[in-house]
Symmetry: D2
Subunit: 344 residues, 4 copies
């Protein structure tokens, strides 16, 4: 079975394993206070164009989302997010478990607009009973989204403008950020993102690391005591250096970009073959996730040899499915899949 | 600087790194549904004497504690624990953050007794205002304790008896369990523990792994939907196999025992030299943590070359300190420390 | 200004004030352990046809909802409710603040169906990633709904059947229950409700009392330690007898029914005049809330003399508004309003 | 049976019932936005010496405590309080249920000192692991305390100084505040309190009202969005005017002071008789709660005719008990009790 069902099917980039081995017996302080984390922080700041940011390392995405959101909001506030957003749909109520409603906004492709945010904000404050309604307190977006789509620089800029005006911090979930940066349609750099959001994270788990997400707090007002929150929510790794080592490696000599480009390049080949085959694309993704709508008969044939994710029925005889590539996807596997699609 | 301040100063046992490398490109399902986790579960069950238990893998201790406790208790219940217990003292209020009071019991050496539990329970139920007081809902203990001490089989049996009678599940935090099992004063096996508590965890982070704690749910009534809780609290690792691989390695060919014995053997050498030197021991520990009470002048001298943890002032000129050994402690480092203590 | 904007504009039925005065200097135990509460519990049990139920008294609706729901659910579970349900829309995230997601179901008129519940349940369990999604753990409905509509006996029976099969407790919010029981289209008795839901409450605040909601726990499995929850969530009134006195009065000599019928009778006269005037009704309500869709010009004219609630714009020149009657609405006020509508 | 077991045994001062009756049919807006609440707010501000404060009305004490504390703290912070403080001892974990640890300080008589607060603060920040420990975020005190004792102006001033320096808001629970103000040993006015704490509440439930606590927010930084919190935590009374009417009555023509003095005067007569009888006083209270240590035989004799609260065994043959007077205690009842004690 050749697997394309997710982007966390393998271990880590070999350079990371090598670094873990080389440093294995070095003795360091715990909890992220070690030189490896310090180094990784510096490299990430550089990658953000030298921005004045604070960097923390957590283990996984749900943990990161609940820690950031609970740190930002007061009890009566909620987080605006696309209805399809990970925090709304796939975290078993992690945000509610820390006390906050996810204020879901409709979305066709995983994105929300500055205008939607403004309208939700105004709807709240214009309601005579607004004290009886959860107050919008921040905005959560993903780049790329769960549907593989991207915010353009103009779109993120518009969100930034509105949210600054309305005093709503913007939090960008970058679990797959590398694959967004590597998209040919992308016009945002890490430095742009650092300038346009209040806090974001750079995903490691899906982009070359064993695990790990690097939280970048751009807005100084959101930095206070963040490490207490990490500890309380169970996200402070005792051997924090493992995160430092991994991000240091990923942000040395352009590795993070390089492996992201590899994955996206393979995904673009899949996109091309899907279109050539006449499959509609459920979402117009230029990142590592591809969502072709295929005849169910084709799906059944492919499933004999490949694993990929069922997404939704689109009509009686077709379904949308998801294929993911990653830093670890072998070119040969994609070649083989393309051949097999060709002969369907 | 030679470090003895904690038992999470280094990476992982080399066999673990080797296994991570060997399996790096294998493709597996995520979230602990992979063959490595399945194998590790089997090995842990065997190590528990074939007991009917359910095994889950989480990343760290605080996360494990808050996940287990929030799964067991109803909102009005609290957890009985030693005042020095990790959940009470060193988790930034993680248990309160999931809604529960830690009902702290006094303790001289980290242990609590069956009798204390019974009295706390009776005090609650005899109080005419008991509905105005947090109801004891479970018991948390550590083995070894934060002070390096151990429950004997008789003591744990007594706790078990009382708690079964009072319908209070017992949760044993085994962050350093290997070092407890390896103590010469220990008379408890993993199978004993599995029979005497409702849920416990086997620590990996401090005993040879990069990270990871294996939760063993002995009481079937506590198993329902536990994976939902892991996910919600941010403890479900995407590449769950990393945990499976590590615990599989630790529980193959007796590695967990072997490395624990190494650490405890070195700790016993330190214990001996402390006593020989005339230092009082703050706690009577036969495990990997040693707590000598030393003249402050000696402490200052040692600090030039060694790092270890300040524990507390005991009088004007003495302090208790903590030295930890681990699976990774080098014999030569202990030799050197012993020599230097001898010449103080 | 004559007010129709809500059903909590005045104090309490005079018999309640009288009873408060008569009993003012009697000394009783606190927290609901007094003879008045005991008496009221008995009367409510009788009103429920002698069902084996447990009755508790709380002060207000939001408090009652959050206390009941947090008592029933485990942390990873959410409550299915109409998107318009009070717990979803108008309690400032009270349910999320106790850790639970409201799983909102679409609804045209405030009601949800047995079929919707089954589909939501099945959608959850059929999803391969269900452990990553909030588990439906109970169902919340209102009778009457926030839109004045009612569940019929057949509809509630169908919900009951499905929920019993799926092991989802049903919680019925009866903040306006009296006005539902008094509707001519209603075919449910209190005894029916007690037989068909797991827990419900009989609203006092909006139906003759100064304040107070009587929680009726029908399902024995949901009774355990409920008083602890009331206390913890801040709902245990020190002078609990105030609640006992009020519900005792309301459930003596049919007062609760009598005042409900008064309110609904006046509301039916309004309904009739709205229809006669040619206004569409936004919801087909036979209870004390009426939702005519009126020309904005008419609304503006009426606002000079009457207060009522803006509901929503329906087109460029019309809006839906809400008029409420209550136990305290004077017949003369309704007469006057009807005359004024006639002359618009 | 003549009852002295608590100060919430009866209804309300007759002037309150009269005012409820007089205003019963007035129609007002809900949720505290009515003219009665507005009036009561003004009277309370005047009673506070015209201080710039914000006043809110809630129903009960536990609700008030959990609402204020959850409004002030961030998730990783806890509240410093006497171990005997109501929030620590008698609210079924209400504070933990909103996510916060109560950081209990030892106390002999219910009071804590400025020095204790400073030491707790310094202990936290000097601890190298402070990020692993709940951060002190505010201070909770009661006036009078649960033991009937009082802070002097000098003591409260010292607390104020330290807390201002350490940026710890001080919250004063005044559930029995009237009885403190009326004590002959008291040297604090409401204006003093408003100047020395950040937020406090004036108890109504125990001092003449049916129910109700008036929260006075002195520190402008703590005012933002407080009404959202009240609603979310279930404390916003639909007919909020009931609270306005009561506090308006209590703060008109010095009623609050007058009834407090009545209760304290009777308590002083009991204090005198206890001392004359040779009973030791468990706490040196000059307020409405008295704690004599009596021979168990005397207690048994009195229990035939009087109810009062068992406090604790003090030796084999003696116990401390609690007698409360209130605004409603009849002079004749105290006369009778005094006679009966005399003849023991």
């Amino acid at each position: 079975m050749i697997r394309f069902e997710s982007d966390y099917l393998e271990g880590a980039h070999p350079l990371i394993l090598k670094k873990l081995e080389e440093t294995n017996y070095e003795q360091t302080a715990g909890y992220g206070m070690d030189p490896f984390c310090a180094g990784a922080r510096e490299r990430i700041k550089e990658a953000c164009g030298g921005a004045d940011v604070e960097v923390h390392f957590l283990v996984g995405g749900t943990q990161t989302n609940l820690t950031v959101i609970s740190s930002v909001l007061r009890p009566h506030q909620g987080v605006l997010a696309a209805v399809t957003g990970h925090v709304n749909a796939h975290e078993t109520g992690a945000i509610e478990a820390v006390g906050h409603k996810v204020l879901a906004l409709p979305s066709e492709d995983g994105r929300i607009t500055a205008d939607q945010v403004r309208k939700a904000y105004e709807a709240h404050w214009k309601d005579a009973s607004h004290e009886h309604i959860v107050q919008p307190g921040m905005v959560y977006i993903s780049q790329p989204t769960e549907n593989g789509t991207l915010y353009s620089k103009a779109e993120l800029g518009a969100l930034h403008e509105v949210c600054r005006e309305l005093e709503l911090p913007v939090f960008l979930d970058g679990a797959r950020l590398g694959y967004g940066l590597a998209a040919k349609t992308n016009d945002l750099t890490l430095a742009d993102i650092a300038a346009l959001v209040d806090v974001f994270y750079i995903g490691g788990t899906k982009v070359g690391a064993l695990f790990g997400e690097a939280v970048v707090i751009c807005n100084p007002a959101l930095r206070k005591d963040f490490r207490y929150l990490i500890k309380q929510k169970g996200g402070m790794l005792a051997k924090g250096r493992l995160l430092g080592i991994q991000f240091d490696t990923l942000f040395t000599d352009g590795l993070y970009d390089e492996i992201s480009e590899h994955a996206v390049g393979l995904a673009m080949r899949l996109r091309e073959v899907f279109l050539k085959k006449g499959y509609r694309l459920r979402y117009d993704s230029y990142t590592n996730q591809q969502f072709p709508v295929m005849p169910d008969a084709h799906i059944d044939r492919l499933k004999e040899k490949y694993s990929f994710e069922f997404w939704e029925k689109t009509d009686d005889s077709h379904s949308a499915v998801r294929f993911c590539t990653s830093w670890a996807t072998r070119t040969e596997a994609v070649d083989e899949l393309i051949r097999d699609i060709g002969s369907l």
